[in-house]
C-alpha cells in the first residue's frame, strides 16, 4: 500500500542533521513506493531543500518565518500542522532528537494519533509496518505497529541507514505561507555547553571516560583520541558526579543513550546504569586497569592497562592509520 510520508528536516547550525537523512530512509520503507515529502521550517532554510531531495525526498515543502528561527513547540506545531493539512500524509517521521522528542507527542495529540518513539528498526511484515524499539533501557526490544490513524514515528540517530546521496536527483520545492503566532514559550538565551563539533548522540565514534580519568585534565587525552577519530567525548555518571566533566556528557540510564559504530570506554567500570546508555553500540572497546571490571563483559575488545598509557598510544596509532589511508 503506497503511502505519502512526511519527513521533518531538522536544521542545526545552518545544515541538516544526519538523522534527517536517516528519517528519509525510514520514510521510504513506510511509504512502500509512495511519495516522501520533506518539510523544512525556519527563518531561511530553503537552500537546504536540495539536500533532502538528494538523499531521497521526492519533493520538499518549506515554511519560512522569522518566528521559526528558533525551535518552539508552538511555532513548529503551527507550521507542521499547516503542511499536514495541505498534504494529508499517511505517515510522518522525525528524528528522535531533543526537538523530535519535544514536538512529536504534541503533534500526535493534535492529530489524535498514535506515536512510536525512539525506533531503531523498520520492516514491512504481514501487511504491517513493524517498528522495533528498545525498552527497559535497551535490555529488551519490542516490535510495534500502528493500529489506527497516521503512522507516526521518531527514529533514533545512527540506527536506520540513509540512502546514498544522489546529486542527479531533482524534485519540486514549494513554499507554504503560514501565520506563526501566539508563541507561549520564548527562548531568551542559548548557553552552548556541549562539546564543539560532533554531537554526542549522533557521533559515529564515542570516547568515554569514567572515574578512572581522575580529573578534569584527565579528559584531555580522551579528547585528542576523539578528535583524531572525528568522534565525541562522553562520560559515565561517576565522572560527572566527581565533577571531572559536565553532566551534558553523561551516558547512561539517566543521561544520553548512544549507539555509535565504535564506543571506547576508558576507565569505566561498567555499572548497569552506564551500560543502559551504550550497550547497543556496534563495537565496544574497554580500557581498564582492573581485569575484573564489568565493562569487559560487554566489550568486543579489551585492553587491561592504564588509560593514561593506552589512550595516547591509540591516538598515535590511529593518526598513522589516517596518514596511510
Amino acid at each position: 500500500m503506497a503511502r505519502k510520508v512526511l519527513v521533518l528536516g531538522e536544521v542545526r547550525d545552518g545544515s541538516l542533521r544526519n538523522v534527517s537523512y536517516e528519517a528519509i530512509g525510514a520514510a521510504k520503507t513506510v511509504a512502500e513506493g509512495g511519495e516522501v515529502v520533506g518539510v523544512l521550517l525556519g527563518a531561511s532554510v530553503s537552500n537546504l531543500a536540495n539536500d533532502l531531495i538528494q538523499y531521497g525526498a521526492d519533493r520538499v515543502v518549506v515554511v519560512e518565518d522569522e518566528k521559526l528561527e528558533q525551535y518552539t513547540s508552538d511555532g513548529y506545531a503551527q507550521g507542521l500542522l499547516a503542511v499536514i493539512d495541505s498534504e494529508q500524509p499517511e505517515g510522518i517521521i522525525f528524528g528522535h532528537t531533543s526537538l523530535g522528542k519535544d514536538l512529536s507527542p504534541k503533534l500526535a495529540s493534535k492529530l489524535d494519533s498514535g506515536l512510536i518513539s525512539d525506533v531503531t528498526g523498520i520492516e514491512v511484515a504481514g501487511g504491517n509496518i513493524v517498528f522495533t524499539r528498545p525498552i527497559y533501557s535497551g535490555k529488551a526490544f519490542e516490535k510495534k505497529i500502528v493500529t489506527d490513524g497516521i503512522i507516526f514515528a521518531t527514529v533514533r540517530p545512527n540506527n536506520i541507514a540513509p540512502l546514498e546521496k544522489d546529486e542527479s536527483r531533482t524534485g519540486d520545492v514549494t513554499s507554504l505561507s503560514v501565520e506563526i503566532k501566539d508563541l507561549r514559550t520564548i527562548i531568551k538565551e542559548v548557553v552552548r555547553k556541549a562539546t564543539e563539533g560532533v554531537d554526542l548522540s549522533e557521533a559515529k565514534v564515542v570516547v568515554a571516560g569514567g572515574r578512572g580519568v581522575k580529573s578534569e585534565e584527565g579528559f584531555e587525552p580522551l579528547k585528542e583520541l576523539a578528535n583524531v577519530l572525528g568522534g565525541a567525548v562522553g562520560a559515565s555518571r561517576g565522572a560527572c558526579d566527581a565533577e571531572y566533566c559536565d553532566y551534558s556528557l553523561q551516558i547512561g540510564q539517566t543521561g544520553k543513550v548512544v549507539t555509535p559504530d565504535l564506543y571506547i570506554a576508558c576507565g569505566i567500570s561498567g555499572a548497569i546504569q552506564h551500560l543502559a546508555g551504550m550497550s547497543n553500540s556496534k563495537v565496544i572497546v574497554a580500557i581498564n586497569k582492573d581485569p575484573e571490571a564489568n565493562i569487559f563483559n560487554v566489550a568486543d575488545y579489551g585492553i587491561v592497562g592504564d588509560l593514561f598509557e593506552v589512550v595516547p598510544m591509540l591516538t598515535e596509532e590511529f593518526k598513522k592509520l589516517k596518514v596511510n589511508a
Binding site: 507527542p105 500526535a108 506515536l115 493500529t147 514559550t185 527562548i187 542559548v190 565514534v205 572497546v285 590511529f318
Partner: protein, 257 residues
C-alpha cells in the same frame, strides 16, 4: 499554588530482565518510582514550600502503584490519586495514558504540572507533552531549573547538552531532566505521616470515560531480548603490541575505523 505530579511506577531496569509468555517477567522484580518522576516529586515539594499550595501526585496503573504513591507522600506530597485501569484496560499506550490523565486534570485548575521527561521502562517520553496539549497549556521538556515569580516562569531546558533559558507563564507543564534537584529520601516521620495522607482511587467510570474513548492507537506485537553477544577478546602481550593489534582489528575485522 495547585501542583500536580505525574508519576509512573516502573520496573527497576537495574534488575535482570527475562521474558515469559511473551511478556517481561515481573515476578520478584523490584519496582520503583520512575527516577525522572522522583525529580518531579522533589521539585513539586520545593515549589510548594517556597510558594505555598498543595502537591497532588497522580498515577495511572494498578493497585501495586499505591506503594510508590505512598513513597511520594512520605517524601512530602500532600495527596495522591491512583487511576486504576486494571479492570478496564487490557492494553494501553501513551495515547491512552495521556487521555486519562488529561480527563482527570481538566477541571482541577492546576497551576503547575510536573512529570519526568521519560520513563525508564517504556522510554517514549510522550505522556507529558500529550497531556499539556490536551489541556491546552504550554509545556517545556527536560528542564534543569525552574523559577516562578507570580505567574511568570523562567525555565532552563537541557537540549542535548546545551541549555536554553525560556520564559513562559503559568499554567504550565514541565518535565524533569536529571540535574533539576537531588530528590530527598523519605524520613521516618514522613513515612508515618504518609500513612494518614489521602490516597484516592478512581476508575475510568469515575472520569466518565469508556474503554473506547481511550483505546490505544498502537500495539506491541512482540517483546524479545537482544541476541547474546559473543564473548569479547581481551588482548594480551606487550602494551604497544596490544594497541597496534587493537587498531588493526578495528580497521580490518570490525571495520569501524
Amino acid at each position: 499554588m495547585n501542583i500536580y505530579v505525574l508519576m509512573k511506577r516502573t520496573f527497576d531496569t537495574e534488575e535482570k530482565i527475562t521474558i515469559s509468555g511473551g511478556q517481561i517477567n515481573e515476578d520478584g522484580a523490584e519496582f520503583i518510582i520512575n527516577p525522572y518522576d522522583e525529580y518531579a516529586v522533589e521539585e513539586a515539594i520545593q515549589v510548594r514550600d517556597a510558594h505555598g499550595g498543595e502537591v497532588t501526585v497522580v498515577s495511572v496503573g494498578n493497585e501495586e502503584a499505591e506503594k510508590q504513591l505512598r513513597t511520594a507522600l512520605a517524601m512530602g506530597a500532600d495527596k495522591a490519586v491512583l487511576i486504576n485501569t486494571e479492570d478496564d484496560l487490557d492494553y494501553s499506550d501513551q495515547y491512552t495514558t495521556a487521555k486519562i490523565l488529561a480527563e482527570f486534570l481538566k477541571d482541577k485548575e492546576a497551576d503547575l504540572i510536573i512529570g519526568g521527561n521519560v520513563a525508564i521502562d517504556g522510554g517514549s517520553g510522550q505522556v507529558g507533552p500529550r497531556v499539556a496539549e490536551l489541556l491546552g497549556i504550554p509545556y517545556v521538556t527536560t528542564i534543569t531549573k525552574l523559577e516562578i515569580n507570580g505567574s511568570d516562569v523562567k525555565v532552563v531546558r537541557d537540549v542535548e547538552g546545551d541549555s536554553e533559558v525560556i520564559e513562559t507563564s503559568l499554567p504550565l507543564l514541565v518535565t524533569a531532566q536529571q540535574g533539576l534537584n537531588e530528590p530527598r529520601y523519605p524520613s521516618l516521620p514522613g513515612i508515618m505521616k504518609a500513612k494518614k495522607k489521602p490516597l484516592d482511587e478512581l476508575e475510568l467510570d469515575d472520569l466518565d470515560l469508556d474503554e473506547d474513548d481511550v483505546e490505544a492507537k498502537t500495539k506491541t506485537i512482540e517483546i524479545y531480548l537482544p541476541a547474546q553477544k559473543a564473548a569479547g577478546r581481551v588482548l594480551e602481550g606487550e602494551l604497544t603490541d596490544q594497541v597496534k593489534e587493537l587498531v588493526s582489528l578495528l580497521h580490518n575485522e570490525a571495520k569501524v575505523v
